[in-house]
């Protein structure tokens, strides 16, 4: 086999890893080649990795603190978004009443609530939970409602024939049928939740992932900042992956 074919055979299927490796290599090379002054602003791979390693305990604590905001806010958004989405999607008058308000309220960027929420609520944590909740709620609600409206006619006919009650229809038919839509909304909601979480923490927290990056920015400790960014990215990635795995298990019938 020619050399080029051998190389191709090894690379096939692993192009993703190769790309990431290339980026990492570029980063390290850039670090070596930069002037002393620039090296201060753009820490090399080695320096950032060391900072990451040293900050792990602090980062871990920050994660725990952030989770105390993210999890309550996100779970509340999931529960309320799905329930309200199903109700609005299956009740005509509710749909007519709520839709105009939803059209106006949903697009408001939740970041704009942050200062007011901080001023209004008793603790910072509460205000952050509130903002995370608002951010995740709308995509989950809108997608679930769309899923409820899109229930195939034959399921509705079946439920009619079987004589199911309104509650049973919503719980056994509409809810499972709309779940794929709900999960799309949940993925978007999770991404938004992380964005809002970190922004809120930049503002006013005294612990947490966003706080970590802001704190070391105040000290101009760039290696630690970069470490914080990488770490936060990793946490977000793992969360989305977890959501995906949950989705696969629950939506076993969707091909």
């Amino acid at each position: 086999m020619r050399l080029i074919d051998k190389v191709r055979k090894i690379c096939w299927g692993r192009e993703g890893w190769i790309f990431i490796l290339a980026l990492v290599g570029l980063w390290q090379a850039a670090g070596e080649l930069m002037s002393q002054k620039d090296r201060y602003l753009f820490p090399s791979l080695a320096v950032s990795a060391k900072a990451l390693w040293l900050s792990l305990p602090e980062l871990f604590q920050g994660t725990v603190s952030s989770m105390f905001i993210l999890i309550p806010g996100y779970l509340a958004a999931v529960v309320m978004g799905v329930v309200w989405g199903i109700l609005v999607g299956t009740t005509d008058w509710l749909q007519r009443a709520f839709t105009p308000f939803a059209r106006v309220a949903a697009p408001i960027p939740p970041t704009i609530y942050i200062p007011y929420a901080i001023a209004l609520m008793a603790t910072f944590r509460l205000s952050a939970i509130f903002v995370v909740f608002i951010g995740a709620f709308w995509p989950i609600f809108l997608n679930t409602a769309a899923g409820a409206v899109a229930v195939p006619g034959r399921y509705r006919d079946d439920a009619h024939i079987l004589g199911l009650s309104r509650f049973e229809y919503r719980w056994r038919i509409v809810f499972p049928s709309a779940l794929p839509h709900s999960f799309s909304g949940m993925a978007v909601g999770l991404a938004l939740a992380y964005i809002l979480l970190t922004v809120a923490e930049l503002f006013g927290a005294n612990a947490g992932l966003g706080r970590f990056v802001q704190y070391y920015a105040d000290f101009a400790d760039y290696p630690r900042m970069v470490a914080g960014i990488i770490y936060t990215g990793l946490i977000t990635f793992l969360s989305m992956k977890a959501l995906e795995k949950i989705r696969e298990r629950i939506l076993f019938w969707v091909r």
Partner: protein, 282 residues
């Protein structure tokens, strides 16, 4: 039993009565002045091309839609809403994909016997599955089954609802010919053993299927849907496919029905498009 069922059928009361029913959709008349009398235990084939409103008629009987004019009564009760009075089987095997077969059937059983405990419901569901030849497969999900098997489960579920009326909307239309014949025989098997006797309204656009299965074939024309003709199928049961399809009487029935169809088509064409059938041209 070699006795012709049509003899004893005439003595039975009318379970399903359709009186002067009309239905329109978006301004177009879909059904016009439908009058029908179906006897208890009768197997009625509703034959018609697309546009004849046969699915609509079935939905009216089931109570999913309400007629614009006229009235439908089932065993004396006027149909005013679905509420689980008829069993129905649709063409696109509408089982719920997130429930396994037993749970799908148990849903219907729960309608009839609301007080029944879960294990008992499950046992009953197993019995219905066995009736359609799928015993032991209860824990499987619809997406794991072929089309023919899913339709069997749909029939089992319709039976589990325990209604004296079984409505079927081209249930075998999406199946290959082999599966279709198997399921036709299964349907007749299950229907003839049902006690008390079930009244079946079977919608199809397949003439052979309509004649093979039915005690009577009601032919619908299209645009708008109305009854063109009624043909009694006085073949004795049980019917064997072999002798049945070669019998000259069958060919005669088939020929007569084709005539009705063609006559209707020509009438419609003449009325709408002024195509002259008795002069030069078509």
């Amino acid at each position: 039993m070699a006795l012709s069922r049509t003899q004893t059928l005439a003595e039975r009361p009318c379970g399903l009565m359709v009186d002067s029913v009309s239905f329109a959709y978006n301004g177009t008349t879909v059904l016009e002045e439908i009058n029908l009398r179906v006897r208890e235990g009768e197997f009625l084939s509703l034959l018609g091309p697309s546009g004849s409103g046969k699915t609509t008629l079935l939905r009216l009987v089931a109570g999913i839609e309400t007629p614009a004019r006229g009235r439908i009564t089932l065993n004396g009760r006027t149909v005013s809403g679905p509420r689980g009075y008829c069993s129905m089987v649709f063409q696109d095997y509408s089982l719920f994909p997130w429930m396994n077969l037993l749970n799908n059937i148990s849903l219907a059983i729960g309608r009839v016997y609301p007080g029944l405990k879960r294990p008992e419901k499950r046992q009953l569901a197993e019995d219905y599955l066995a009736m359609v030849g799928l015993d032991g497969l209860g824990r499987k999900y619809p997406f794991e089954l072929s089309g023919g098997m899913q339709q069997r489960v749909a029939i089992a579920r319709a039976l589990a609802m325990g209604s004296p009326f079984l409505l079927m909307d081209e249930p075998f239309g999406a199946l290959d010919p082999v599966n279709r014949t198997k399921l036709q025989d299964l349907l007749i098997d299950v229907w003839s053993q049902a006690s008390p006797a079930k009244t079946v309204v079977f919608v199809t656009h397949d003439m052979d299927e309509a004649i093979y299965l039915g005690d009577r074939v009601v032919i619908l024309g299209s645009f708008p849907g109305r009854i063109i003709a009624e043909v009694a199928v006085d073949f004795p049961r049980p019917r064997s496919r072999q002798s049945y399809l070669t019998a000259p009487r069958f060919k005669e029935l088939r020929g007569r029905m084709l005539e009705y169809f063609q006559q209707d088509v020509i009438e419609r064409l003449e009325a709408v498009n002024t195509i002259w059938s008795t002069r030069e041209g078509i």
